[in-house]
Amino acid sequence: MTDASTGTTALADPDGPAPAGPSGRGPRARDTVAYLRYGAGKLLGAAVSLFAVLVTSFFLFRIIPGDPVRTITHGRAVSEEQLQALRRQFGIDKPLWEQFTLYCGQALQGDFGNSYQLHDPVGELIWNRLPATLLLTGTAFVLYSLIGVWLGTRSAWRSGGLGDRFNTGLSLTLYSVPSFWLGLMLINVFAVGAGFVPGLFPTGLMESGDGSTGLAHALDVAHHMVLPVVTLVAVGYAQTLLVMRSSLLDEMGGDYLTTARAKGLRDTLVRRRHAVPNALLPTVTLLFVNLGHVVAGQILVETVFSWPGLGGLFYDALSIPDLPLLQGLFFVFAAGVILMNTLADLIYPLLDPRVGR
């Protein structure tokens, strides 16, 4: 309630026609300044968060008990000189503080050192695998956001009905299913074939490697993508649906909807023009805050489907454990989520005029 603060301005309101306020450009310019200040604040916050991630990624992988060099050599008989050489090679012979400053400096240039296992620069490994992950996550994210918002809207509008109960029940169930298990099931049924269902979709990697190009190649990739995307969407849409549903239910008591109905708007128009835009605000926020969970699903689904992205790379690095690679991947995952959230923060004022002015 902002009524307390509005009292004073209201008193100044003249009885007759108010004098035309500052020319039309005035408030707009003020808006722009306010938005820039808001945006700058968000960017600064993101920078602080990124630095915190950097610090975390450094120390997290150094509390490991034991000697990483021993891990690399897999317990083979190696002379002390060789161990020292390895330590020097990976920069773990220096004091912790020196390692940290070095790490930060290099990380800012995108240099996360070399993989223990593959010996390639971590940055390069990540860069090569990034497109596959972006393709999969992006597709799944867009799909489950749309499906969740759409079904959530339908559910709330006919809340308590058969459709609502089915929708809510199904989404809660899918939400409780481990993503990797659902992936395995889908592989069993639709890739291997089970019962009367033949193997419809290929799995493993993102292309058949038959050297096709252009449209044929795109179709091939799409074909490989079906099952992983279905898995991610199935376990991911529930939260969107539930939040959209409950925020729309909250809005449905809103007086402004009665106003809209009183104006003579059709029911569908009341919903589309008035209720949904308001209910979308909390949903969008949640979609972005929960991106962290998407990363989790991504790792598992890529592992199960052998998708050649960052998630699979993470799983491989985990079994060694390949510290520089894990470190780099952790930073990339966390930074990605922070960047997307910052982006959402910057877009948000366009959806909700009450924010950032």
Partner: protein
């Protein structure tokens, strides 16, 4: 042209899905250009009455009786016709304008919306009409680009009024238009409504718990209690010398400026209005009535008296 009233409500009953009888057998008439005030505590059914006029009650509410708007029964209208009548035939200024406006859409768009829906202005001329309306209610035309949260409470109420006028309706229902505002702004908004109603010869139904405000603005008053009209008549008479004990209590509830006696008068009523789903037998007011007789507990009281001035009390 005709003598038929603008609005003629006959034996209106509203029962909510929960079993609450919110409005029970209300008869009211309103001629074009006339101003009718409806008073009562919260929960007496006055807001239900306002929503019933345009069939805006939640699904599950049962309505019976007749609501003749310009001779046409709102309750039996087809959906298409009803949508056409909404806002173009009768519009509503809702209470608490903060929540009655959509927070994420610009003021101008919200005022323009009914005009576009009802095609009362060509799309090209809508912006101009919005500017005219805003200036009419005392706001600069540039406010059309603002969002509700950028306005003060009084300004938002002005926007609601501009919106209500958008399609030139014959009837405006103002449901507690000034409740959330402080006294100075209240007076401004009341003057504005009065002025607009006089200029455009529309009928006005104003709903409030504040009898003084209504008496000041309206020609006639109806006092509601537990879903029923318990007293009606010319505004000054009902306010100054109420017949029904409830109306008396209501008019004493607000002190009169310049009348020292009113400060010492017993004020307010003990107890709460009855639960509409569990009404007491007999006269519904008897449990709180200071002058109740034994028979009040069993005998229901109908409105009685002359056509112009009636009350539903055993003492009348």
């Amino acid at each position: 042209m005709t003598t038929a009233p603008l609005l003629d409500i006959k034996d209106l009953n509203v029962t909510y899905g929960t079993g609450a009888a919110a409005v029970r057998g209300v008869d009211l008439t309103l001629a074009a250009g006339q101003k009718l005030g409806i008073a009562g505590e919260s929960g007496c059914g006055k807001s239900t009455l306002a929503l019933a006029l345009l069939r805006l009650l939640p699904a599950g509410a049962k309505l019976s009786g007749e609501i003749l708007l310009d001779g046409e029964d709102v309750l039996t209208m087809k959906w298409g016709r009803l949508r056409a009548v909404r806002w173009a035939g009768a519009s509503i200024v809702f209470q608490g304008a903060m929540h009655s406006l959509n927070a994420v859409r610009r003021i101008g768009d919200q005022i323009a919306e009914p005009m576009l829906i009802h095609r009362t202005a060509p799309p090209s001329g809508v912006r101009k009409k919005v500017a005219v309306l805003l200036e009419h209610v005392g706001l600069p035309a540039s406010r059309a680009d603002s969002y509700p949260h950028e306005l003060s409470g009084g300004q938002r109420q002005r926007v609601m009024i501009a919106m209500a006028l958008a399609c030139d309706p014959k009837l405006i229902v103002a449901d507690e238009p000034t409740t959330a505002l402080d006294v100075m702004i209240q007076a401004q908004i009341l003057r504005l409504i009065e002025q607009l109603v006089a200029e455009q010869n529309v009928g006005l139904i104003m709903i409030s718990h504040d009898l003084a405000v209504l008496a000041d603005t309206c020609d006639r008053l109806a006092v509601m209690y537990a879903g029923r009209v318990v007293e009606q008549g010319p505004a000054a008479q009902v306010y100054e010398s109420a017949l029904h004990p409830y109306a008396k209590a209501l008019s004493a509830a607000f002190p009169r400026i310049g009348d020292p006696a009113s400060r010492h008068a017993p004020r307010g009523l003990a107890g709460d209005p009855p639960d509409p789903s569990d009404l007491p037998p007999g006269c519904t007011f008897h449990p709180r009535c200071p002058v109740a007789l034994d028979r009040c507990a069993v005998e229901d009281q109908a409105l009685r008296g002359e056509e112009e001035r009636r009350a539903a009390c055993v003492h009348v």
